[in-house]
């Protein structure tokens, strides 16, 4: 088991190398010279050349990548062209805000999606099932940021139940933080819940029709016990797969949801950087996001082995 995990963990390295190289190459293609941007408007050619040298831009591409990689390994992702601050520091500030939101959305999606999936699988073919399925296709078609706008106009501006914008760190004031999290988490989570419900339904219908469930029924186990204990356990691996895929989706969708709720997380950081040609920041954010997704995929993979010992 331990050797296997190690083996899988070693495979993360080439993926990460390829991902960082791809991003570095992409950013390298960008038009414009960061040295000219940094030097300001009245810079002489000599000053620009000096900055190019300082940034290492006069070196061959592969060498630049190697420098960037070794710095990144030590946690130095370069300097923002606009604020002149460290990229790693800016990401460190923004990331907890975004992760808080993604976790909120994920929790909501998992709970809501599982319940909806179970309800429609148990009542497959009935009008309840049809209603849940219709809701799920609607939930999957609504853009999460638009749902956010609708929620703001209904529950923040209409009734003042929840704050419309901003965010509070969970560590500083948990009560306020949760109040701020409710609407963005719903906006983010609904599409994921729809996806989870749709797929869990298919899996559960299949499992509920299988032989071992028939045996359990014959044994006289209550239907509730069968569904929540035995069938759900059988659905754990596909369920983890779906939930794992949502992490990547939510990290992306959070960018736009943050813009709606005026939350200054990764979204506002990367969008601002993209508009201002602040390439080191874009590069840093993309790499950190890929790192998170790769680690989550790894965790999902490990969870298969915990849920289902038959998987080697």
């Amino acid at each position: 088991m331990r050797r296997l995990l190690l083996e899988r963990a070693v495979w993360l390295v080439p993926t990460l190398l390829l991902a960082t190289f791809g991003v570095f190459w992409l950013i390298h293609l960008a038009p414009g010279d960061p040295a000219i941007t940094l030097a300001g408007e009245n810079a002489t050619a000599r000053q620009i050349a000096a900055i190019r040298h300082e940034l290492g831009l006069d070196q061959p591409f592969l060498l630049q990548y190697w420098h960037w990689l070794t710095h990144a390994w030590r946690g130095n992702l370069g300097t923002s062209l606009n604020t002149r601050e460290g990229v790693a520091g800016a990401i460190g500030h923004a990331l907890p805000v975004t992760l808080q939101l993604v976790l909120g959305g994920l929790l909501l999606a998992a709970v809501l999606g599982t319940i909806a999936g179970i309800v429609s699988a148990r009542r497959a073919g009935t009008s309840t099932d049809a209603a849940v399925s219709t809701l799920a296709s609607a939930g999957a078609a609504i853009p999460s940021f638009w749902l956010g706008l609708v929620l703001i106009s209904m529950f923040a501006l209409g009734t003042h139940w929840f704050p419309a914008t901003g965010s509070v760190a969970l560590t500083s004031n948990p009560g306020q933080a949760l109040r701020h999290l409710v609407l963005p988490s719903i906006a983010l989570g609904v599409s994921g819940a729809a996806e989870i419900a749709r797929q869990l339904r298919a899996v559960l219908i299949d499992i509920l029709g299988s032989d071992h469930i028939r045996t359990l029924r014959a044994k006289g186990l209550s239907e509730r016990r069968i569904v929540w204990l035995h069938a759900l356990k059988g659905a754990a691996v596909p369920l983890m797969t779906i939930v794992g895929l949502q992490v990547s989706r939510f990290l992306g969708a959070a960018v736009v949801v943050e813009a709606v709720f005026g939350i200054s997380g990764i979204g506002s950081l990367v969008v601002g950087a993209a508009q201002n040609h602040d390439y080191p920041v874009v590069e840093g954010v993309v790499v950190v996001m890929a790192l998170i997704v790769i680690v989550v995929n790894f965790a999902v993979d490990v969870s298969y082995r915990i849920f289902d010992p038959r998987i080697r």
């Binding site: 609504i142 969708a253 736009v256």
Partner: protein, 330 residues
């Protein structure tokens, strides 16, 4: 595969002949677009949107950028959907926004197909190290959250409708490549391919005549779902200011300006949002019905596959179950 003959459907996949091309028959087309109430509704919605997009100048009642009217008006006979913050007619902007949206979806999905289909074909047909390298790259691209990678590519290309949708197309392409590859791997083992090769057909002819036509169906189904995702991606990128640029009308841009005045005029949020949701629902419904027409066994087979995965999964990166997932678009 509209009609199922009871014998061949029980045979293992490889023993069956080439799939009858349901989509070239008029009956298949009719069942796809007009088979049940869902697909009828979807066809009507998309036909309407297409007409809006093509004949926008005739259908819009005013110029989408004319700021001639009193701002924040509700719906009336003069302005069906009211006016926005700058006194522009919302219906006219919506019509032109639909045009941008359809254009965007077309660009993104065409590019995804143009990149993904050949790569998947080469990877699946050649196999070996070519396959390993190409799929490694595809997996790497898939490990970025889609929207964030699209933002990074747009940052390099510069903002705008075409650039942002080229970025989305690049982000979509690895899922197409993976799907195409998995289909080619199955198709190239079929008897009729062996027969074609043993008759002395050159590889290019075998690929063009036998492998591509018999592998492409699931890709087309996937592409239909991607059209909906691309509409959401366009709205998202335009909302944060990287897609369609001000003052050109787009659903995302309309939502952006409506969101700034949401406390004054909350109604402004609804027309573009409902339009997006309807278009996406319509694409999804047509994707579902296309799958039913082309592959009536898909739902049973999908369930079997999921069950098989649950028991025998080995340590590979999971592929999306259900065959409908594409790396996120919103």
């Amino acid at each position: 595969m509209v009609t199922l003959d009871p014998v061949s459907s029980r045979l293992p996949d490889a023993a069956r002949g080439p799939a009858p091309s349901a989509w070239r028959s008029r009956r298949g087309l009719r069942q796809w677009l007009w088979g049940d109430w869902r697909s009828r509704l979807a066809t009507c919605v998309l036909a309407l949107v297409l007409v809006m997009a093509i004949a926008a100048p005739l259908i819009a009642r005013y110029s989408p950028t004319a700021q001639d009217f009193i701002p924040f008006r509700g719906p009336s006979s003069a302005h069906w959907l009211g006016t926005d913050d700058l006194g522009r007619d919302v219906w006219s902007r919506l019509v032109y926004g639909a045009r941008a949206s359809i254009e965007a979806a077309g660009i993104a999905v065409c590019l995804a197909l143009a990149i993904g289909v050949p790569i998947g074909l080469i990877a699946g047909f050649r196999g070996g190290w070519v396959d390993a390298v190409l799929m490694r790259i595809a997996d790497t691209v898939l490990s970025f959250p889609g929207i964030i990678l699209a933002i990074a590519i747009t940052a390099v290309l510069g903002p705008g409708l075409v650039h942002s949708m080229l970025a989305v197309g690049i982000v979509f392409s690895p899922s197409i490549a993976r799907l195409m590859r998995s289909q080619v791997l199955v198709t190239k083992e079929r008897l009729y391919v062996d027969a074609a090769v043993s008759f002395g057909n050159p590889p290019s002819r075998t690929v063009a005549r036998h492998i591509v036509p018999n592998s492409i169906q699931p890709v087309v189904i996937q592409a239909t779902f991607m059209l909906g995702l691309a509409v959401i991606a366009e709205a998202s990128l335009s909302f944060v200011g990287l897609g369609v640029q001000y003052p050109s009308p787009s659903f995302g841009g309309m939502l952006q300006s409506a969101s700034q005045f949401i406390s004054v005029h909350p109604f402004g949020v609804y027309p573009p949002g409902v339009a997006i949701a309807l278009i996406v629902l319509a694409f999804n419904a047509l994707g579902d019905s296309l799958r039913d027409v082309l592959d009536p066994l898909a739902s049973t087979r999908r369930a079997a596959r999921l069950a098989a995965r649950a028991s025998t999964r080995r340590g590979h990166r999971p592929e999306a179950p259900g065959g409908r997932h594409v790396p996120e678009g919103h």
